[in-house]
């Protein structure tokens, strides 16, 4: 047994990996708990080894960074400083300062309970896609932008032959170019925002030469693959009998409202829709961490307001892999210092800190530009299913609001069951909030994922009651 302090890191994406490596290099025993079979998270998602991809780097940017993380993890694992638990799905973290229990489910059916005890926790749980429904969104052939990208990166499967990529946000570019590079015909990239608005934020952009270069590279790829870009347009409806056959797109005016007479039909068999990401905050919320809007609130050391709990990456605010790396690194160094009973010197991570500041500014600017069009909720027809788990339509939500006195998402949920199903409102939450006419707030989910009752019943007794 070792006397070294023990950190549990939840999530092996960029933030979790950077945090684990930084802490492990400074005398902390680390257990890295992750749901995937391999490290990397969503950003560095790896093709399954059995597929024998010869050039997985062709699908990734920043392959060198990934190699550095991967090799670092391997070294620490070999040296016994890091324990990497793959295929462990964390459903709850409980505890108070200095004594945490990370409860996970293991195995393909996720039926076996595992508990990891630690002195501190770093939450690097990443984000998930914001889904906004529209008529026809449940047709087979309609996928999320991230889903399409995950298929490209992980399974190397081409989701369809003729694709439309739509929604808003910087993720649409790599999805469109990725699909095109993989051999799909990308009929259009439909972006509801006006990317020219970014130009007005030039000072922030100028500080980001790397990001500019990346954007320019993607634009070049779009041109190369002949992808038609439709800025200030939106998908109004997806058509098809049994599966997707076409989409109707229309132009938007400056206020985000449909421009009459601009609707046109584009035949396609795949529609990848993305409206940006939302942070996973369930574990943090149950631990009692304060949120700021949809994000876990952290200080300069990436500490939450619950002693012993750090957070980094998308869970503290959507900002991409480079920001996650910086935050994870700072978190890992702070954990190491604090667990050794010392106060860390922020000057030691000045480089990461500067890059964190710049990237946060950059993504704040992106956020301001890439917002869903103003009337998206009004355009959801009454018969459109908004909660797929419980099959709740937009009409049912509107009735709860108009005639039963529901003015918030929780009451709508109680009166319609929207958000009570398997996904616990992760998919329909933004849609229900939009239809209810209130801002989206993260739901309270004590269980971050479904837990077999047998696992609950067999939980270890707590040492302190």
């Amino acid at each position: 047994m070792t006397e070294r302090p023990h950190l549990a890191v939840v999530g092996a994406g960029p933030a979790g990996l950077a945090g684990a490596l930084a802490a492990a290099a400074r005398g902390v025993r680390v257990t890295l708990v992750d749901a995937a079979e391999q490290a990397g998270g969503q950003f560095y998602r790896q093709p399954a080894a059995a597929l024998g991809a010869r050039r997985p780097q062709a699908l990734h940017h920043q392959w060198r960074t990934w190699e550095r993380l991967r090799d670092g993890l391997e070294r620490h694992v070999d040296a016994g400083r890091v324990t990497h638990l793959t295929d462990h799905h964390v459903w709850c973290v409980e505890g108070e300062s200095g004594a945490f229990a990370v409860h996970a489910l293991r195995g393909p059916a996720q039926e076996e309970g595992v508990t990891v005890r630690a002195d501190a926790v770093l939450l690097a749980t990443g984000g998930y896609e914001r889904v906004l429904p529209f008529p026809g969104w449940t047709l087979p052939g309609v996928v999320t932008a991230g889903g399409a990208q995950a298929m490209l990166k992980g399974g190397l499967v081409l989701p369809g032959r003729t694709a439309v990529v739509a929604g808003t946000g910087p993720l649409l570019l790599p999805v469109a170019t990725g699909l095109a590079a993989a051999g799909a015909r990308v009929a259009a990239l439909v972006e509801s925002a006006d990317p020219k608005a970014l130009v007005r934020r030039a000072p922030v952009l100028a500080a980001q030469p790397g990001k500019l270069a990346e954007g320019a590279w993607y634009s070049g790829q779009l041109v190369r693959h002949g992808v038609r870009v439709l800025p200030r347009h939106t998908v109004v409806e997806a058509h098809g009998a049994d599966r997707l056959e076409a989409v109707t797109v229309a132009g938007l005016d400056r206020d985000g409202r449909l421009r009459p007479g601009t609707a046109r039909r584009i035949p396609c068999d795949t529609l990848a829709v993305g409206h940006g990401m939302l942070p996973h905050t369930d574990l943090a919320e149950t631990l009692g961490c304060t949120l700021s809007g949809t994000d876990v609130r952290v200080d300069g050391e990436q500490r939450t307001d619950v002693p012993g709990v750090w957070a980094a990456g998308e869970t503290t605010g959507i900002g991409g892999a480079a920001l996650a790396l910086a935050e994870g690194h700072i978190a890992g160094r702070s954990v190491a210092a604090r667990l050794h009973g010392t106060t860390p010197d922020p000057r030691r991570w000045a480089t990461a800190s500067r890059s964190r500041t710049r990237l946060r500014e950059f993504f704040a600017a992106l956020d301001a530009v890439y917002t869903p069009p103003a009337d998206w909720a009004d355009r959801i027809t009454d018969d459109t299913v908004v909660c797929r788990c419980e099959e709740v339509t937009a009409e049912q939500v509107r009735t709860a609001v108009d005639t039963l006195g529901a003015g918030d998402v929780r009451t709508v949920k109680l009166l319609t069951r929207a958000g009570m199903g398997w996904c616990q409102g992760r998919i329909c939450g933004p849609a229900v909030a939009g239809l209810t006419g209130c801002p989206f707030t993260p739901g309270r989910r004590p269980f971050a994922r479904p837990v077999p009752l047998g696992v609950l019943a067999a939980l270890p007794e707590q040492e302190t009651d």
């Binding site: 149950t286 918030d408 009451t411 309270r444 004590p446 077999p452 019943a457």
Partner: protein, 377 residues
């Protein structure tokens, strides 16, 4: 829920009713409830009489509101695992029968017929056909709508307006005054705070309960099924954790498992100790649940008074103030009867039941100094 029922029955006597809530409809304990309409768990006495009255009224309302409140007269089954508890349960049921409850003894073979997935080896049980179920949030919303009362949600009562002689003139809210000669306190777990605004002492306290909700399943549990020690728990004065699982299927598919009983104030944070006990208890009754997933768990705060009876009726200390709170874990079930009694009190009719045991001023002797009298805060 209790406020909604009061609004409905008061409106039906011809009164002009307004419902004021600082949150949304069903935003407090109602929204965290399971919707139990139980007679089975009550010993003979005033609460059981109220439960029987309420059960009749619920059945009436169900005919009127139809499926919109998900009323299900599915009946309850109380099981005993040993012959010792079965004897106690059988005696208890005999007393209930004398008070007007339909309670049918069931032997071990009969239990398997009623609930095929029940754990083997149970000694026997009692079936209570009068136990029923509603979806509480829907019930509250639809009762208010049916009442025609004006609904002011998101509006906080900050004071009770009173005349020089102490009589109620209405309420002060964060969005203006509402004038009325009568104010009904149906603030549930927060009923003590509202009473205090009128200068009356009413010691309502929270008792936390966790409920577990499973993934949707085909109907595997047909009744409300619980273990015999639940009956002992309800009347318990223990501050510690008391768990005896009530397991039931719902119209929507999920199985509900509840509920724990703890006195920990308004602490909403997850207690894995509590949900572990719930899960273990439920699996003890229905072994198939071991592999069924819980999708969520949530806490609610039952409003209880020291003698475990609600406060119902006029407050002689504050003319014009009526109480309808403190129903502990039975507020959904007892709401209709409470609403009827309050409406009768408001209109000067003879109530269906003696309000004596529910007198709101019955805790006067225990009042700490300075919490009663003319303190107008």
């Amino acid at each position: 829920m209790v406020g909604a029922a009061c609004a409905l029955y008061a409106a039906r006597t011809g009164l002009d009713v307004r419902v004021v809530d600082r949150g949304p409809v069903a935003g407090g304990t109602t929204g965290a409830g399971e919707g139990n309409l139980l007679v089975s768990d009550k010993e003979p006495g005033p609460e059981l009489e109220l439960a029987l009255l309420s059960a009749r009224l619920w059945a009436e309302l169900a005919g009127e509101l139809g499926a919109s409140v998900e009323y299900e007269p599915k009946g309850g089954v109380v099981v005993a695992s040993t012959s010792g508890t079965l004897d106690a349960l059988t005696d208890f049921a005999a007393g209930q029968r004398a008070a007007g409850v339909t309670a049918e003894p069931v032997d071990a073979a009969g239990l398997r017929e009623l609930e095929p997935h029940l754990a083997p080896g149970m000694a026997g049980g009692v079936r209570y056909p009068q136990d029923a179920q509603v979806m509480p949030a829907l019930a509250a919303a639809h009762l208010i709508r049916a009442s025609g009362a004006r609904l002011h949600t998101g509006r906080t009562v900050t004071g009770v307006l009173r005349a020089a002689d102490g009589a109620v003139l209405g309420v002060r809210t964060d969005q203006g005054d509402i004038h009325a000669p009568a104010v009904v306190n149906a603030a549930g777990t927060w009923g003590g705070d509202l009473a205090a605004l009128a200068g009356a002492h009413l010691p309502v306290l929270p008792r936390r309960g966790f409920v577990l909700v499973t993934e949707p399943l085909p109907r595997m549990v047909r009744h409300k099924v619980y273990a015999a020690d639940y009956v002992a728990d309800v009347a318990s004065d223990s501050a510690g954790l008391r768990t005896s699982p009530v397991v039931e299927g719902t119209a929507a598919g999920p199985v509900l498992i509840g509920a724990t009983r703890e006195r920990v104030g308004f602490d909403r944070s997850l207690s894995l100790r509590a949900v572990r006990a719930l899960a273990a208890g439920a699996i003890g009754l229905f072994p198939f649940l071991e592999r069924v997933s819980a999708l969520r768990t949530y806490a609610g705060f039952r409003p209880y008074l020291p003698d475990h009876l609600p406060a119902i009726g006029p407050d002689p200390r504050v003319p014009g103030l009526y109480h309808a709170c403190g129903h502990e874990g039975a507020g959904i079930g007892l709401a209709t009867g409470t609403g009827r009694l309050v409406a009768q009190a408001l209109t000067g009719k003879t109530p269906d039941l003696d309000l004596g045991p529910f007198r709101p001023e019955r805790f006067e002797a225990t009042a700490p100094p300075g919490t009663n009298g003319d303190n107008n805060r």
